[in-house]
């Protein structure tokens, strides 16, 4: 499968999910706009996935174990 075909397939899969969850609230024009938004999201995700990271590259996200005082 070519890159454009793979992306189109991913967009259709995601669109099917959104249609399943929210399709009853969306008319055809809105669904088309949602498709455009999903295309942008999938494009962004593929750009992120294209960058290689090491196992040591953690999310830049602090988490602290919690314990109520005292």
């Amino acid at each position: 499968m070519s890159e454009p075909e793979a992306m189109a397939a991913e967009v259709e899969t995601m669109l099917a999910l959104v249609r399943e969850r929210y399709g009853h609230r969306l008319d055809a024009a809105q669904l088309a706009a949602v498709r455009t938004s999903i295309e942008a999201i999938v494009q962004a995700a593929r750009a992120l996935r294209a960058v290689r990271l090491t196992n040591a590259d953690e999310p830049a996200q602090p988490f602290a174990a919690y314990r109520a005082d005292p």
Binding site: Y22, R25, S37, A40, I41, A45, L48, A50, L53
Partner: protein, 466 residues
């Protein structure tokens, strides 16, 4: 005496109040009157807080008369973006129709800090609904109407801190508090020809502020000068147990830079690509000014998907922050038609991709710091374009229809930046220059901005019609 105080910087007003040549009550009445008369012209105001303002002003006047002067914000009127919680029956609407009558019973930490500094809350200011977190793409995206630009009433004021920008630019308040997740302080500051400061993530408590993105949201001041932004930041900065993301770092604003300080500025290669011609020309002229204040060198960042990193984080967190409103269909009551369905698309963001964005964010933060370590600031156009026409769509990096490397890196890495006016472009609208620094180096970018404003007069120009 009354209208003479309009368009005077906070520092000048403060000196008048301190020496009792200016009365806080007179100041409050002057700006309350302007908010009432002119606020509707710009769709700048949600709620005028007259009772609270006059009570705070009378208290300030009495304290100062008795020799208890709290500092440079004592007795100074201000406005707050309407995503900051306020008690006393004052609504907190988030700019969104579903919340237009909602009243909270507590004050955001920033509101409390400004009260402790003697500030006088005169208004809750208009904003893009839910601070733009739903994906708006045109100015009419608030239940109070589109933010109108004081320089050209056919143009947008910028957003999402729309009223914070237009109210300062129109002389309705001496300073305002806004918030930025991606562009929401620098955009209205730039479009309205005023100064806006985006502090380092974690510098200012967000307790009591509406959340769009827990790891991107920042609160900061908009004012006439960079110096005023420093005065306000000193009052609102600091650790807050109610916001665990605030850092335990003391902030002190030392005041304007002494003349003669030399700066080292960097410019990202290709940063003006995609800018309007007037924006590019004004930036080129600004660089000439900066060369008289120090050195300017071209720098590069490694090739990373900066926009995609920050956008993925923003979309995923906003989708979660407003999960209830999206899931129950409450977004159907929002003003902008696109805000009523765009959020549904964000179910397409996979957890794995969000985490990849968070991992890449660490790389981005380290690379940005490496470049900034040898500089006082990276400089760039504040916005690529002047303000959009009221009825038009605008390009947005957040939606992926424009590139904004400075915004993506600055917000994604939580870096401070200040935007200052640097000229005018199409349709008589202001353009801006931004200075971005290392984390926790607000004083560095403020010093550079103050130095720029000490040799230019763009910040002293005001719209004629106000």
């Amino acid at each position: 005496m009354t209208e003479d105080v309009v368009f005077r910087p906070v520092r000048a007003l403060a000196e008048g109040v301190r020496t009792r040549r200016l009365s806080p009550v007179m100041l409050a009445e002057t700006f309350l009157d302007r908010l009432e008369r002119l606020g509707p012209r710009y769709n700048a105001v949600v709620t005028i807080t007259r009772d609270r303002a006059l009570e705070q002003a009378r208290r300030a006047e009495a304290e100062i008369a008795s020799g208890r002067y709290r500092g440079p914000l004592h007795g100074i009127p201000y406005g707050a973006k309407d995503l900051l919680a306020t008690s006393g029956g004052i609504p907190t609407t988030w700019g969104a129709a579903p919340f237009k009558d909602r009243v909270l019973d507590f004050d955001a930490t920033v509101i409390l800090k400004l009260e402790a500094a003697g500030g006088v809350l005169c208004a809750k200011l208009a904003m893009v609904e839910l601070a733009g977190g739903m994906g708006y793409r045109q100015p009419n995206a608030s239940f109070t109407g589109p933010g109108v630009n004081p320089w050209n009433r056919e143009a947008w004021s910028g957003g999402s801190s729309s009223g914070s920008g237009s109210a300062v630019a129109a002389g309705l308040v001496p300073f305002a508090i806004g918030s930025e997740t991606w562009g929401s302080i620098l955009s209205p500051a730039g479009h309205c020809g005023i100064t806006g400061l985006r502090p380092t993530y974690g510098r200012v408590s967000r307790h009591g502020a509406m959340a769009i993105c827990w790891t991107l949201d920042k609160l900061g001041p908009l004012a006439l000068t960079a110096d005023d932004c420093g005065l306000v930041l000193q009052a609102i900065a600091g650790r807050d147990p109610a916001d665990p993301t605030t850092a335990d770092r003391t902030y002190h604003y030392p005041g304007p830079t002494p003349a003669g300080r030399r700066f080292r500025f960097g410019v990202l290669r290709g940063i003006t690509e995609g800018c309007e011609p007037e924006v590019r020309d004004n930036f080129t002229r600004s660089l000439e000014v900066l060369k008289a204040l120090g050195t300017v060198e071209e720098v590069t960042l490694p090739d990373l998907p900066y926009d995609e990193i920050t956008r993925t984080i923003l979309f995923a967190e906003a989708s979660s922050a407003f999960e209830d409103l999206i899931e129950d269909g409450g977004i159907a009551a929002l003003t902008a038609p696109e805000d009523r369905y765009t959020p549904y698309a964000r179910d397409a963001i996979l957890a794995k991709d969000y985490l990849k964005a968070l991992r890449l964010r660490g790389v981005m933060a380290r690379e940005a710091d490496r470049v900034l370590a040898s500089l006082d600031a990276l400089v760039a156009p504040g916005r690529a374009t002047v303000a959009a026409r009221l009825g038009s769509e605008f390009r947005s990096a957040i939606r992926g229809t424009a590139r904004d490397v400075m915004g993506a890196v600055g917000n994604g890495a939580g870096l401070p930046a200040v935007a200052v006016p640097n000229g005018f472009g199409a349709r008589g609208l202001p353009t801006s220059l931004q200075f971005m620094g290392r984390a926790w180096e607000e004083n560095g970018v403020l010093a550079a901005a103050c130095a720029y404003q000490s040799v230019t007069d763009w910040h002293t120009r005001h719209p004629e019609a106000v």
